[in-house]
């Protein structure tokens, strides 16, 4: 047994060594566009090219952000929104992962489910909203359903593809070596499927976050999306822009978070990207 596990890594391409670029340089490069945009923004608002009431200056947005933070509104809104996100995302993964696996391993299940699934996936999320509203009302269930739906599609599709794309040779090799169930999972399944599945998980999270904001804009009484809509209704566009920035930053952090988990897992189990 120990022999096989020693041999296998040589046959299967060794886990790709992930090299992150030196952080300082990447941060600098990543900052070029934001700084440029900030400059254009400052220029446009200072010159009054767009009315100040419509496009507040960066400094006004900073002040609005300060008010949001000190009033405690920002933190409580983020809390509510993240709770919704993780619950809805959890439901989406909970359905999406098994569904993807099922469609990949069972030809019958694939024939039965895939046409309906892809038909459903092709309907844009926004087109689902009125229908889901009729079914779930405008309460919390609607929000969770929409977030789950947003996460479900990329998770299922990528999971299915990941498993379907495991090289036949690897599986046969595993059979040949009579690998135990666990070793096959550890040595073949995980390295082969982790990266593509994580692509789905990351896409799912980003889309779930976007869907959350949309659904909170619709009918909510708390949360970041609600505050965004409210600030527009009350003509506080500086607050609106501040909230947009917060939403963007959180989306970025979430994406990086999943990427980080992916990085750790791939280092642990190996993987072929």
């Amino acid at each position: 047994m120990s022999q096989t596990t020693q041999i296998l890594p040589r046959v299967i391409p060794s886990p790709r060594r992930w090299k992150l670029p030196t952080p300082r340089l990447s941060v600098l490069r990543g900052a070029i566009v934001p700084v440029l945009l900030l400059g254009i923004w400052q220029f446009v608002s200072a010159r009054g090219i767009v009315a100040n009431l419509i496009l507040p200056s960066p400094w006004q947005v900073v002040q609005a952000l300060h008010v949001l933070v000190t009033s405690g509104l920002l933190l409580s809104s983020i809390e509510i929104s993240l709770q919704r996100l993780f619950l809805g995302y959890g439901i989406g993964i909970g359905i999406g992962l098994p569904l993807g696996v099922l469609m990949a391993v069972s030809p019958l299940a694939r024939k039965l489910i895939a046409p309906s699934f892809y038909a459903v996936a092709r309907v844009p999320l926004l087109a689902w909203v009125p229908f889901l509203m009729v079914i779930f009302g405008i309460g919390e269930a609607l929000k969770l359903a929409i977030i789950a739906k947003a996460a479900l599609t990329p998770v299922t599709m990528n999971t299915e593809r990941a498993i379907a794309a495991i090289p036949r040779g690897w599986v046969e090799l595993g059979r040949l070596y009579r690998l135990s169930w666990f070793t096959a999972l550890r040595r073949i399944l995980l390295p082969a499927t982790l990266p593509p599945i994580f692509v789905g998980l990351r896409l799912g999270l980003v889309q779930a976050w976007a869907a959350l904001v949309v659904v909170e804009l619709l009918a909510a009484s708390r949360g970041l999306g609600f505050e965004l809509a409210m600030s527009r209704q009350l003509f506080q566009l500086d607050t609106m822009v501040a909230l947009m920035l917060v939403i963007g930053v959180i989306g970025f952090i979430l994406d990086r978070g999943v990427a980080r988990i992916e990085f750790i897992l791939i280092r642990r189990f190996g993987g072929v990207a």
């Binding site: 009054g48 009315a51 100040n52 009431l53 419509i54 006004q60 008010v67 009302g137 405008i138 309460g139 009918a219 909510a220 009484s221 708390r222 609600f226 809509a229 409210m230 527009r232 209704q233 009350l234 003509f235 506080q236």
Partner: protein, 356 residues
């Protein structure tokens, strides 16, 4: 303050470019752009805007300005006051009919406008719940999911009405829905209650019951709507502002005549709201009081109260002084030229004591 001054300056500069004859008598604009903070059912371009609705449907401004080559553009905003404010900030409107709350929000943010005349106040606000609901009073709303059209003039009335029962928005789950959607949501049991001014369609009316309605004895709770112009426009075309207000006062007079009621309801009917509904809403109003364009003590105090309340309820972040906002000149001149100075009754600040 800086923003307001800067905006005024840029608007004034823009109008300077557009109008070489700035402020000179006789300068005529190429077009009048009028925004109405309401749209009918399904977005129909009609409203309940009193004299403003009469001017629109009867084409009175188009007739007034036809000879001078000035065109009249009407814009109806289903997004109500907040959408009108954005259009004003984009310098896309010269005049607007709006509720006091949205006007105050705009002014607190630096929109440079002038108040010309009142176009509807004392309108009752009701709370609708499903027929089988256990909610029987305002106090029962605590902890419930309640709809309100946030940022519009209704929100302010709602906050005032809640305060009469010792409640605040935070005591319930407030969802932001327009009035028609809100009453449908109540009928479908998706939310518990909705505040409505108009927005009860006959389909939903059967499924709902009204548990509260602000009465004629408490006019200070009700929203007030008025007609405003931008400072830049008033500066560039004072004569045009006078002419618009004169036409509007004529329309208000027409709307105040009892015999014109059926015709007025037909104008309101273009919004898509059924005649029965319109009749039930407006029959309770005294046309002389409801159609009065006057800034009497009640209307002026109501605007000031709305500004103070908006600040108190946290809807604006900087206080608004309403005294310098009213531009009574065009209205006074219109009343004098039409001989209508004493036509409409005037009320004291409380809205109940008739002073003339």
């Amino acid at each position: 303050m800086l923003t307001r001054r800067r905006l005024t300056a840029s608007l004034a500069a823009a109008s300077l470019l557009a109008a070489p004859g700035l402020g000179r008598a006789g300068a005529v604009p190429r077009r009048l752009r009028i925004g109405v903070a309401m749209a009918g059912l399904g977005g129909r371009p009609y409203s309940f805007a009193g004299a403003v609705a009469v001017m629109h449907v009867q084409g009175l401004l188009e007739k007034e300005f036809a000879s001078g080559g000035t065109s009249v553009e009407w814009h109806f905003f289903a997004g109500a006051g907040p959408a009108v404010n954005e259009a004003l900030a984009n310098n896309a409107l010269d005049f607007a009919w709006q509720g006091d709350m949205a006007e105050i929000v705009g002014r607190s943010r630096g929109l440079a406008t002038k108040q010309l005349f009142v176009a509807g106040n004392r309108f009752p606000v009701a709370v609708a719940v499903a027929k089988d609901s256990s909610i029987a009073s305002l106090a029962d709303l605590r902890g419930k999911t309640v709809a309100n059209f946030q940022g519009t003039t209704l929100q302010l009335a709602v906050d005032r009405i809640l305060a009469t029962a010792g409640l605040r928005e935070q005591d319930m789950q407030m969802v932001n829905l327009d009035q028609v959607t809100a009453s449908e949501a109540v009928a479908q049991h998706q939310i518990d209650a909705s505040f409505i001014e108009f927005g009860l369609t006959p389909q939903t009316e059967k499924l709902l019951k009204i548990i509260y309605r602000s009465g004629p004895g408490e006019p200070e709770l009700s929203p007030q709507t008025s007609f405003i112009t931008t400072e830049a426009f008033a500066l560039a075309y004072p004569d045009t502002v006078d002419r618009v207000v004169r036409v509007a006062v004529g329309a208000a007079h027409w709307a105040s005549l009892g015999q014109n009621r059926p015709a007025l309801y037909a104008i309101y009917g273009k919004t898509g709201y059924p005649p029965v509904f319109i009749k039930s809403m407006f029959d309770q109003q005294d046309p002389l009081v409801f159609s009065s364009p006057l800034w009497d003590a009640f209307a002026a105090s109501q605007l000031a109260r709305s500004a103070a309340d908006s600040y108190k309820f946290g809807l604006i972040r900087t206080q608004v002084n309403t005294a310098q906002w009213l531009d009574r000149g065009p209205l006074d001149r219109a009343l004098a030229s039409l001989g209508l100075q004493h036509y409409w009754p005037q009320f004291g600040a409380d809205g109940l004591t008739r002073v003339s």
